[in-house]
């Protein structure tokens, strides 16, 4: 056996049997695996201990691994992130939960001014291998303060890595990669996808992940590398750049309007897989960007700028952005705010007309 095969076999061993899981289960499994493998991993956050988290991502972990491996924190996001930075500087790999992405702002200074810059400012003397998990996005009638998508506020910060999975397999694999990264990582978990893929039709029942074809998640250890996009759907006519919930909406939208779109699931916004993006847009000559966040200065702006910088001479139509509006996320108008298949489909048709 050569080294490569050996390595693959060992990896398969570590990954173990694969079974269907929903996204909460796969995240829980990722945390469980890492608590088991690495005594330097520990988890804390509001309500994550005995209770297991308001979305149940840490259910059972305190009982299994002990009180000081997974515990509650005071309601102070600055303290949660700040103390995690100190732990990471000590040599641990803390994993903290911010209950909703909407509540990350009190800890924003610790992220921007501290976590992201400690390696740089100390010339590598100190590092911050910390992972922040936080549910983001709308679609659960959470109103203005349980629906936000603040990813662009993190992609602007040099030193931070920003990750957004779209399915249970990636959620676990990216989470483990994030925990093992020696840089601080924030993972935005699309809460609308916890139970099953949601394609943007609020009235249609969602298939639970367990019943989604091909949804298998290894029970053991594996990683999905940060910085590698995934072609979620191959296509020839147009590229859709999406992440999180919007990956599923993008696929459904393309199919609804019959455009043979290539859907790129970015998975990681920073580092970004520019090669995959560039190759796809050069192939299709058209690009639609979809995200749930407020449009102005959303991550779609960066994607649009990059695409036109890298693919200017290949573009046959203006790049379109289909996004949340430049308003807060209104409780009753959730589905008018959400960039659903109707709006994505219309954009696809527009770019195909040009």
């Amino acid at each position: 056996m050569n080294a490569q095969i050996e390595k693959t076999a060992a990896a398969a061993d570590e990954a173990g049997k694969s079974i269907p899981m929903n996204m909460i289960q796969s995240i829980n499994s990722g945390l469980d695996v890492m608590l088991g493998r690495d005594p330097n991993c520990l988890i804390f956050g509001e309500d994550v201990g005995y209770f297991g988290g308001v979305f149940r991502a840490t259910e059972g972990l305190q009982k299994k691994h002990g009180l000081n491996r997974c515990f509650d924190a005071p309601i102070n996001e600055c303290g949660i992130i700040g103390s995690a930075i100190g732990m990471a500087a000590y040599g641990l790999r803390p994993i903290v939960e911010i209950q909703f992405a909407d509540y990350i702002y009190p800890g924003y200074d610790q992220i921007v001014s501290e976590a992201a810059r400690i390696r740089y400012r100390s010339a590598g003397d100190f590092t911050v291998p910390m992972t922040i998990r936080t549910p983001y996005g709308g679609g659960i009638f959470g109103g203005q303060t349980h629906s936000q998508s603040p990813e662009a506020l993190f992609t602007h910060i040099a030193g931070m890595k920003t990750v957004i999975p779209s399915n249970p397999y990636d959620a676990k694999g990216l989470l483990i990669a994030a925990i093992e990264s020696d840089d601080p990582v924030v993972i935005f978990e699309p809460k609308r996808l916890y139970n099953g893929p949601f394609d943007g039709y609020p009235d249609k029942p969602v298939t639970p992940w367990q019943k989604v074809e091909g949804n298998l998640v290894p029970e053991g250890y594996y990683t999905v590398p940060l910085g590698k996009a995934r072609i979620a759907r191959e296509g020839a006519d147009c590229t859709i750049l999406a992440y999180g919930t919007m990956v599923h909406v993008a696929i459904a939208s393309a199919e609804a309007v019959g455009v043979d779109a290539e859907v790129v699931d970015l998975r990681s916004l920073a580092p970004l897989d520019i090669e995959t993006i560039e190759a796809s847009v050069k192939k299709t000559g058209r690009c639609v960007i979809v995200h749930e966040a407020t449009r102005t200065s959303g991550f779609g702006a960066e994607l649009s700028a990059l695409v036109q910088e890298h693919c200017f001479y290949h573009l046959e139509a203006p790049i379109e952005r289909v996004t949340g509006w430049d308003t807060p996320y209104p409780h009753a108008f959730e589905w008018e705010y959400f960039p659903g298949p109707k709006r994505v489909g219309a954009a696809l048709k527009r770019v195909m007309e040009d």
Binding site: G49, F51, P74, C78, G142, G143, D326, P328
Partner: protein, 421 residues
């Protein structure tokens, strides 16, 4: 006494290994709560200093417990506000109406008529008493658990329900979560979903009133768990430095979703004690004793109105039900903990007081309850006719793009067009 030492690195270093302490509540599901060791001062025990006493001369109040209603339902001690019977009855009614309203809205959520609801059951005295001390010109900065303030001010239940249902007549135009009311004319500041943010705002509002030579004061509420937020510290610092005419109410209902008060540092020190470090007067009050809350609020309000600055009040109470409709408290605390809670229920206690005064009876109580339930039911019917979250009328979608700014800019106009409306 320490003995002489030389080497700078040789001192005190030991090989005892440290361990991390994670605080845990005393009782978990399956256990029976036992509050027999809880120290509860008798009603009337805690002294009442003059409102102009220096904060440093009343630090002990932060460790006492202001109580007026004794076990026998009698009002005793220096904090007895000596309210007349009409006021007492009004207080009782306000608490009961709040509870009836909560019950109906909770059920409405369960019936799918709205997305979310939060009750204040067991803590009704906190808001009801304050609303009766403060005026409509004063500004309240509440959390999601002081709906009682609006109810005590006779804000129409139908309006509240319209918002809970995000229906066609929702005064918040469908934008806000069900329980996040706003009514400037009633001195009720728009509630935020972000914990703690209202506290420095309340201090700023109070500073503004003082700046203008006005005579209005502000009051803010914050949960025990949320005192951990930095905004709390900002508010305490600003209130202390600028001697702002504001009352900072800490509602210690023992729980913050699934985390007990110890997770916010409430084991070793009281929450009122936070005020001591800022040279603020800090009262600790039996939050289930309507009279005690009334008296403490009155004291703090008078102090504020006398330009003597801020007061911190810890209301010692118990969150009798789940955190919200999304919560299941039986997962993290004994189901009978609330029943065993030694400070009882604020409605029961005020009722008992009125009965003891000879001004009330169980029958009157029941008929008032029936009346209030009917009142709520009638309001409910009226509100439901205006629509519920998933049925009937809703606000015009157009309004989604309004009030982001004073005027819509080209982006919002364009986006509204994109939506095709």
């Amino acid at each position: 006494m320490a003995s002489p030492r030389t080497a700078p690195d040789a001192t005190l270093k030991n090989s005892r290994s440290l361990s991390l302490r994670i605080p845990e509540p005393r009782f978990r599901p399956g256990e029976t709560a036992d509050f027999s060791s809880m120290e509860i001062p008798e009603a009337g025990e805690t002294p009442r200093p003059a409102v102009d006493t220096a904060a440093k001369d009343m630090r002990e109040l932060a460790y006492g417990l202001i109580r007026v209603l004794g076990k026998d339902g009698r009002a005793v001690g220096p904090w007895d506000p000596k309210l007349d019977v009409t006021t007492l009855k009004r207080g009782l009614r306000n608490m009961m109406l709040t509870r009836a309203y909560d019950d109906r809205m909770y059920r409405a959520q369960r019936q799918g008529k709205t997305s979310f609801y939060m009750k204040s059951t067991g803590e009704e005295a906190v808001a009801a008493a304050a609303a009766m001390v403060l005026t409509r010109e004063d500004m309240c900065f509440p959390t999601y658990r002081q709906q009682g303030l609006l109810i005590a001010r006779d804000y129409p239940l139908v309006e509240m329900m319209n918002q809970v249902y995000s229906n066609g007549k929702d005064p918040m135009k469908g934008r806000q979560l069900p329980v996040m009311y706003s009514s400037k004319k009633d001195g009720f500041f728009t509630i935020s979903g972000n914990l703690g943010t209202q506290l420095p705002q309340a201090v700023g509002w109070a500073m503004a009133s003082a700046y203008k030579g006005d005579d209005k004061i502000a009051a803010a509420w914050i949960g025990d768990g949320s005192t951990a937020e930095g905004d709390f510290h900002a508010a305490m610092t600003f209130a202390s430095v600028y001697r702002a005419p504001v009352i900072i109410n800490i509602v210690n209902n023992q729980w913050a979703i699934s985390s007990f008060h110890g997770m916010a540092g409430g084991e070793g020190a009281t929450f009122a004690a936070r005020g001591v470090g800022f040279n603020l007067p800090a009262l600790r009050v039996d939050g289930n004793d309507f009279l005690a809350v009334h008296a403490a609020t009155e004291w703090a309000a008078e102090r504020a109105r006398s330009n003597l600055g801020a007061t911190v009040i810890e209301h010692y109470t118990y969150r009798a039900e789940g955190h919200s409709t999304s919560d299941d408290p039986s997962r993290y605390r004994p189901t009978d903990e609330g029943k065993l809670w030694p400070l009882g229920d604020p409605v029961e206690r005020l009722k008992q007081h009125l009965i003891q005064l000879g001004e009330w009876s169980e029958e009157q109580q029941q008929s008032l309850h029936a009346d209030l339930v009917e009142q709520v039911r009638a309001a409910g019917r009226e509100a439901e006719a205006n629509g519920t979250l998933h049925a009937g009328d809703r606000p015009s979608v157009k309004t989604m793009f309004e009030d982001v700014y004073e005027d819509m800019d080209w982006r919002l106009i364009k986006q509204r067009q994109e939506l095709g409306i």
